[in-house]
């Protein structure tokens, strides 16, 4: 019967579509649960949150994003990094020309092979690489002398750092020149008064 065949065909098509939709949903769910830099970037925790609520995150897997600052402190196959997540991670004070409070960040420890992907570290003349690390947060890691830290296993460089060359000198040279003249005049007066005293 054509009508029955047709209804069976429609039923199969609906079943196939439902199966595809289910598979798609499962894949989407699995993808959303999979750890990955792009996914994790959306749910990174801040250093302030970790320090203020250490018990909440202790032993849990976290993603954390910050500017690599200072030095990579190598310890055998592993390394320590300091990652600052303050507003200066996007533009340091020298580029901002406005202040956004003190620095904030946290120490992270993990494989040197991962850490060595960092090419520039934050300092006076550099904005460091912005990196994302994923790993386990410890409020007091017994293997690291009780440090509050993240032990990472993956590190992704989200943005390369760059040299900072901007200088805002303003009226400083004029002030320096005026002070230099005043100093010379005072030194001459001093020398004369001493000469008069000795004479």
């Amino acid at each position: 019967m054509p009508g029955t065949r047709s209804s069976t065909g429609t039923g199969r098509a609906v079943a196939a579509a439902a199966a595809l939709l289910m598979t798609g949903c499962c894949l989407l769910l699995a993808w959303s649960l999979l750890p990955g830099p792009a996914r994790a970037a959306g749910r990174t925790v801040s250093s302030t949150e970790l320090i203020e609520h250490p018990d909440k995150y202790n032993g849990r897997r976290v993603a954390y994003e910050g500017e690599a600052i200072g030095e990579i402190l190598r310890r055998g196959d592993n390394a320590w990094l300091t990652l600052n997540d303050d507003p200066y991670r996007h533009r340091p004070r020298r580029e901002y020309q406005e202040l956004k409070g003190g620095n904030s960040g946290i120490g992270v420890y993990g494989p040197y092979a991962e850490a060595s992907r960092i090419t520039r570290l934050g300092s006076y003349d550099s904005l460091g690489d912005l990196v994302l690390v994923e790993g386990t947060f410890f409020k007091a890691n017994p293997e690291q002398g009780g440090d509050l830290m993240i032990e990472f296993d993956t590190l992704t460089v989200l943005r390369k750092g760059h040299a900072v060359n901007r200088n805002h000198i303003g009226a400083k040279p004029v002030v320096a020149a005026a002070l230099l003249l005043a100093s010379a005049a005072l030194a001459w007066m001093w020398w004369r008064s001493r000469k008069r005293l000795v004479g």
Partner: protein, 501 residues
């Protein structure tokens, strides 16, 4: 009737203040050379402007206030109090020009914190600060720790007629050598020798921690200056946590121990009298108070299960107690951990350690071990008087370089200064709670840290805090470093100037 100070008194004061400011300007040449060598042109210009400003100030006061008269005790004390304020204002110029401070008040806060060897800071984006400016912050601690007036005594004063008052005014009540200038020079020799040895030790441990050689040396010298002078500034915003190294922490602990010992005891050890180390009352008192405060902290931390094992207790608990007791302020934990993790008992132990401080005539702040000992012994003395028959002759002695007797005058002096510290700790806490929304415990922690010239922070000190609190902290750091007497003298002098006849 209150006598108005003479014009010559004011001339002496301004002339000597000018000398101290010239000294501060001369000291700026060190970071200036460093900035030039590292091609940090703008920070070099900032330091150059600061240096010239000091020269202009110093030259004007020297030209207008030339005098050959000698200073009285009062004038000497007032000179010291004013010299510290002038040094704060002039020393803040390169910091303000660096652009890392929200206001000139913030820059003055950091300069006073550096000179008074406190370590609390309002700097913003420290981790991107120029090396030259960063070095200036640490050099301020080295100069302030030795005593900026001692610096002037060492390099600018040949005689000792005016030197005694200036020396005593800076909270140094001990003449190691018969001549005060010789004593000041001895302190410098000791400090420079320790600077070389201590920096080398820290450099080796910094290299072991993974620092590259050149930067490691910069960090080692900076941290030595801040640690030995019980200051607490560090090149990085993360303090000592940045290095994540047990050996580096041990080396800084050693430096802090050296800094908290009386220069007279250093002299005794240097001249072969090593038995003094075992017999000295301050060393013994420090041993007892460190043991007690550490025990309290360990009990508190263990009760809450904050730290997992003995190594962690040593690196976090003991370290913070030593850092607080010595008045240094280096941190191996994040400031807010004191509040979020440490609990009341460990926090209380840290406040007590900060309040007690190190030795007299050292670079430590706080009440000081000798005063703690004499206060405790005087209570014991009074108890004995009550128990024993009235006809009994009671005498108590203590050993500090030589045998000394505890007299009524000594006890009175000790109790006055101790009382001043306790009142200042509490008053500061009250003012902070009045002008901010922090709890009394947090306020007491920070107030004790400021007045005891320690520098540990539970996160309260930040650029956004009210200006009133910043001013209170500056006054606490200044008065605490000068042990109040010079500050009282200055207030009396100003009253006499306004109302005297």
């Amino acid at each position: 009737m209150l006598a108005r100070p003479r014009r010559s008194d004011i001339k002496i004061i301004l002339s000597n203040v000018g000398k101290v400011v010239l000294g501060i300007g001369a000291a700026m040449s060190i970071p200036l050379v460093m900035s030039l060598a590292l091609k940090e042109w703008v920070p070099a210009l900032d330091l150059f402007i600061g240096m010239l400003s000091c020269f202009v100030f110093g030259a004007v006061t020297r030209l207008t206030c030339r005098t050959d008269e000698t200073a009285s005790w009062l004038v000497g004390m007032v000179t010291v109090a004013l010299a510290w304020l002038a040094a704060m204002v002039m020393g803040a110029i390169p910091l303000m020009l660096s652009g890392h401070f929200g206001s000139f008040l913030d820059a003055c806060f950091d300069t006073m914190s550096g000179l008074a060897t406190t370590g609390l800071t309002l700097i913003q984006d420290l981790d991107h600060l120029a090396y030259g400016t960063n070095f200036w912050r640490h050099l301020l601690m080295f100069l302030g720790g030795q005593g900026i007036v001692v610096v002037v005594l060492t390099f600018f004063v040949s005689g000792s007629s005016r030197a005694v008052e200036l020396y005593l005014g800076e909270g140094r009540d001990e003449r190691i050598l018969p001549n005060v200038v010789s004593t000041a020079r001895f302190i410098w020799v000791v400090s420079l020798v320790y600077l070389v040895i201590g920096s080398l030790v820290l450099w080796v441990t910094a290299l072991q921690a993974g620092m590259p050689p050149a930067k490691g040396l910069f960090h080692a010298v900076s941290i030595f200056m801040a640690g030995y002078d019980t200051g607490g500034f560090t090149p990085m915003s993360q303090s000592i946590i940045f290095y994540h190294s047990l050996w580096f922490e041990c080396a800084t602990m050693l430096v802090m121990f050296l800094g908290m010992i009386n220069f007279a005891v250093h002299y005794a050890a240097w001249t072969g009298n090593r038995r003094e180390l075992a017999k000295n009352v301050e060393i013994r008192t420090l041993g007892v108070t460190i043991l007690l405060t550490t025990s309290l902290a360990v009990i508190g931390l263990a009760h809450l299960g904050v730290l997992p094992d003995a190594v962690a207790l040593f690196r976090k608990g003991f370290y913070q107690i030593i850092s607080g007791h010595s008045g240094t302020g280096f941190q191996t934990i994040y400031g807010r951990q004191f509040i979020t993790q440490w609990g009341s008992l460990a926090l209380f132990a840290t406040i007590i350690a900060m309040g007690l401080g190190g030795s007299a005539s050292s670079t430590s702040g706080g009440i000081k071990a000798i005063r703690v000992h004499i206060s405790a012994r005087s209570i014991w003395l009074e108890a004995k008087r009550l128990i024993l028959p009235p006809s009994s002759v009671i005498s108590e002695k203590y050993h500090h370089i030589r045998e000394r007797t505890i007299t009524h005058d000594l006890v009175r002096g000790v109790l006055i200064v101790t009382g001043c510290y306790i009142i200042a700790y509490l008053a500061g806490a009250l003012v902070i709670t009045m002008f901010s929304d922090y709890s009394l415990t947090q306020a007491l922690f920070e107030s004790t840290s400021a007045c005891g010239n320690v520098g540990l922070s539970c996160g309260l000190t930040n650029p956004a805090m009210p200006s009133t609190v910043k001013v209170v902290f500056i006054i606490q750091m200044w008065a605490g470093r000068l042990e109040f007497i010079s500050v009282f003298m200055l207030i009396g002098f100003l009253v006499a100037l306004a109302r005297g006849k």
